[in-house]
Symmetry: C2
Subunit: 421 residues, 2 copies
């Protein structure tokens, strides 16, 4: 008998009818002889409706109360799914994150899981019950307050529970039927992947692939939890994310796919003294504003002036804070000007096959050149090439690279609109 | 500095605007120098919407999951009120029933409070915070499951917290501005009472007065918590429920008011052997079906047959179960027939003044006779007279008695539509 953890997204439980359909799938899994733990996101628009109410009563709602408010959404969907399962003749018990033992940091709105102590979940399973756990939430270790895990929190809840319960697999049911070689909405012949290693999936997620969030993949890799990405609406085989890239024989290593990201912005600090320590001052200032930077480029110093420029990318939402912080320190750091640009896009090629195939970078750049797309910045890792391009060129860039590396296939992709929770 | 517990009903927080208004009142109380604990019901129609969803996914939802579902309503309203208070510049922290230490029995849907251990509430108050507690809910002592307290549960939560925190007063904000001598929707000159003793309020609640539920008044009396009933929409003085009837000087004792109840039904067991033990069999059968009976009348035995009839009243909703249970035992109990009637109404006169004023029963019956209303059944206690009349005569009966005892006044009543939670 296997132990299966399943996670269903908000659009999969957006109505009573969809809830009944999800319940049928859960009961099928149970009747096939498995122990089943299920994590469900909040129903469809619930979260947006609650956010809207919060905005109506207070301009800057305190984060602690926001977490208390938003976590009710998962409470509702989980108990409804438990009821629907009951209606199909199986036992089901729903637990809040706190009841399921999801212990987190106290960072309301973006808490991290510290530990999972699923004693009550285990007991309920042992009594033959299907267990529902409210995703996206936990309880803070210090103050015992209700917390939320931020974007992708329900996926992370599922993977963390799977790790703590030593589950055989964590199934993530979502709007698409697997991981694709590119976003099928942009590339019409994008191909579903049967398997992806944790490292490749990490790079894909870090580069903007939205099916799985980075934190969830990191958690799965650390605890070696196989993650099976499947569609809630079909019975197609999906994509299995598991295993290390190191275990893939060199001759079988391939290119995983093309990821893109439209959520970044670019900052250039112009006229910085080209003396050791000044670049560090720039990045320390940004770090103090709690902003994560992604790509970095330092231009060659102009000999006549002894000055240089530094360009870096960061989340668009953090751009105003970064500019404000740097401007405040202009005198101390001694640069002449800050330029910023939020109409940029990043396109990345990921895959273990890159290590053993020379010329990938050349083909990559040639493909973009042929499509008439200018490259703004390049950054690479062992299994990834990322470049920054103009936002308007991004879709064309994705298609050009996908095509240049022959990643296309025949199978038609299944895509539904979804939420990011 | 006083400690004030306030409770606001669902209609008082039905919209963002009303929530902001409630927050203003709470902040005023805090700024007047009080510690404030607030219990808020679920917003307006939230409970009905959740019940509707439950019905759509499952015909007979399990009670445990129903409690998990419904308690999210109070979680939402409490965190929103906390946010609105924050927006007005005061600290506020919301707690679930479980976090606030409301320990209950495990009877899902109708749990009883066993104990309140408000350590976290106390700590938050000591740090200068206003505290919000989700009403209507607790956590079961044995299984640590989320429970609900049934009708009037939020009022009971407020009174129980007030008792555990040794609060100076528990203010219940509702749709009407106090306890009236009769329902103002029936009696136009019904008068607001300044004070009512616990015993009188208990009789009023037991006889159908809807402003406070019986359980809440019982709790308040047991722990001697003064309950101040006020309107959420006005600053009128309301009604103070406190003190024992015994403390009222005889010459000041008055008649409290006229209560009515439309929710009962009547059962007559015809042709029961007039031998000791047969009446007991009838009531044992009804008790085994978990049905509470109210009024009882046994007719004089007919000598020629050695048979008698027993009539009793019970909640209308329990009528089918009672008839089924008795019919199943017809052979054993040996009656000839069961008659039932659910178009009845009960009208009651309550007041400590009754003890010292002879002739109250006579005036009561004369008033109904003059109004041409037939009395079906009479039951009395030390401070109450109740009679059963035809449902169609009930409003007239209330008016006739209110008038006969000169209970009317000048002040105009404030009435809003409300919920019963």
């Amino acid at each position: 008998m296997a132990l299966v953890v399943q996670k269903y997204g908000g659009s999969s439980v957006a109505s009573a009818e969809r809830i009944r359909r999800v319940a049928e799938r859960i009961v099928e899994t149970k009747r096939a002889g498995n122990d089943v733990v299920v994590v469900v996101s909040a129903m469809g628009d619930t979260t947006d409706e609650l956010l809207d109410l919060a905005q109506q009563v207070c301009d800057t709602p305190p984060a602690r109360e926001m977490d208390m408010l938003l976590t009710s959404g998962e409470r509702i969907s989980n108990s409804l799914v438990a009821m629907a399962i009951h209606g199909l003749g199986e036992e089901a018990r729903s637990f809040t994150g706190s009841q399921a033992g999801v212990i987190t940091t106290g960072a309301h709105g973006n808490a991290k899981i510290i530990d999972v102590t699923p004693g009550r979940v285990r007991d309920a399973l042992d009594r033959g019950s299907i267990v529902l756990v409210a995703g996206f939430q936990g309880v803070s270790q210090d103050s015992k307050d209700v917390t939320t895990l931020g974007r992708g929190g329900s996926d992370t809840t599922a993977v963390a529970l799977a790790a703590a319960l030593k589950a055989d697999v964590c199934e993530i049911y979502t709007d698409v039927d697997g991981i694709y070689t590119a976003d099928p909405r942009i590339v019409s012949d994008a191909q579903r992947l049967d398997t992806v290693s944790f490292e490749e999936m990490l790079e894909m997620a870090a580069c903007g692939a939205k099916v799985l969030m980075l934190r969830c993949v990191e958690y799965a890799r650390r605890y070696n939890v196989p993650v099976h990405v499947r569609s809630s609406y079909t019975t197609k085989p999906g994509t299995m994310v598991s295993g290390s890239m190191e275990d893939i024989p060199v001759e079988e290593a391939i290119l995983t796919g093309v990821a893109h990201d439209r959520s970044e912005a670019k900052v250039t600090v112009v006229g910085l003294p080209d003396v050791p320590g000044y670049a560090a001052k720039v990045f320390r200032a940004v770090a103090e504003a709690e902003i994560n930077i992604d790509m970095v480029l330092q231009n060659i110093s102009k000999v006549e002036t002894g000055k240089t420029d530094i360009t870096f990318t960061l989340p668009q939402t953090d751009l105003p804070a970064a500019v404000e912080k740097l401007t405040a320190l202009q005198g101390e750091i001694g640069f002449s000007e800050i330029l910023s640009d939020d109409s940029i896009g990043k396109v990345s090629l990921v895959g273990a096959g890159m290590k053993s195939h020379p010329g990938v970078t050349a083909t990559f750049c040639e493909a973009l050149a042929e499509a008439g797309i200018n490259i703004d910045l390049i950054s690479t890792s062992e299994i990834r090439i990322s470049v920054l391009v103009d936002d308007a060129d991004l879709d064309n860039a994705v298609r050009a690279i996908h095509n240049a590396f022959d990643l296309g296939g025949e199978e038609e992709a299944v895509v539904h609109a979804g939420t990011g929770r």
